[in-house]
């Protein structure tokens, strides 16, 4: 799962180290694209719900369950939504990869290849469709997703200013920062 790190207000860049991908547990990450205040609010709400679940159930939440929870939380605000379009990435109990994306009111799509979100979603779709191949090794996957991200954000004025990639494997997560165009 990867994101850029720009925080902007219209055309002005306020910060270049804004976190949009959040860890829920070792095998579950959520990426939130959209209005920054709702990104932060949803992160706080999701952490609350996830930790409460872990306390009650005494086990980690499955990615499918988390995706459903997020979808429900978004639809609850159907007529005053959070302006965020999240993606969920994780490994299920059998360490099989899980990917889902949804719109701002929780309409979910589960994909076996890639999910994208943000102001340059179209660019990302094009890049992923071209570069993606199934059954890539983790290192190859890192290269692929990095190229998709960097090329896509370079064609969008509102995206970029740095990137971060998390590769989620059963043994652990490797997070790396990307060096990209700072414009």
């Amino acid at each position: 799962i990867a994101s850029d790190t720009r925080l902007g207000i219209n055309f002005q860049t306020v910060a270049t180290d804004f976190k949009k991908v959040f860890k829920m547990n070792d095998k579950l990450y959520v990426g939130l694209a959209g209005l920054a205040t709702d990104v932060q609010t949803l992160d706080q709400l999701l952490r609350f719900r996830n930790e409460l679940y872990e306390l009650r159930e005494e086990r980690k939440m499955k990615p499918e369950t988390f995706s459903n929870l997020l979808s429900t939380m978004l639809y609850e605000k159907r007529f005053g939504p959070y302006f965020c379009e999240p993606i969920v990435a994780g490994l299920d109990s059998k360490n099989k990869p899980f990917l889902s994306g949804m719109d701002l009111i929780g309409a979910t799509v589960i994909a076996d290849d890639f999910v994208v979100s943000g102001s340059c979603a179209e660019n990302l779709f094009g890049m992923c469709e071209s570069l993606y191949k199934p059954d890539l090794e983790p290192e190859e996957l890192f290269e692929t997703i990095s190229q998709c991200l960097l090329a896509a954000v370079d064609r969008d004025a509102l995206s970029g200013w740095g990137g971060v990639v998390h590769v989620i494997k059963p043994e652990g997560v490797i997070s790396r920062e990307l060096k990209g165009r700072q414009d």
Partner: protein, 201 residues
Amino acid sequence: MDTVFALRYDGGVIIAADQANARSILVYQDNLDKIVPLSSHSMMGVSGPNSDLVNFSDYVKANIALYELSNNGSTLTTEAQANFVRGTLATALRKGPYQVNILLGGYDVKTDKNGLYFMDYMACMHPVNFGVQGHASNFCLSIFDRDWKEGLTEEQGIAIIEKCINELKIRFLIAQTNFIIKTVDKKGVRTVSFGSDPADT
């Protein structure tokens, strides 16, 4: 059309703001203090309509004081105060938003660290090295980008602030004659200079 800007330096934070209290074409007051001390070692530069500015800053200030009273004198870190402010703004956002844009700066004596937090009226909070609220950002951010570096002294910080004020006086359409500058360091909140004494009623 307020101007609030701030920067971190080695050992503290400086916040500067214009002193005009205006609505539409009328200037009610030219000695308003928009930099509100929240605790002994933190302050908040607020821009926005005077009603929200006063109401919101009074509410935050009172609640931070209440925390210290209710918790046997234990103080909130700058980050905790910023998160409290964000929570207040975020809760109010979908009910009756406070139209205040904030720069919150403080110095944590226990950890010897300074902190500056940028917050827009929609409650997006982010720690920054320097920040500008208002139209002035178009003029001042590039000065900060060029001159700010890690490890500035207080004098160097004030010099950059003065540079920004000068730039606004030359190039900004709205004449802002009076600016108030405050710093916070391990000794606490201190007023460095003002254009017009806020205490003059």
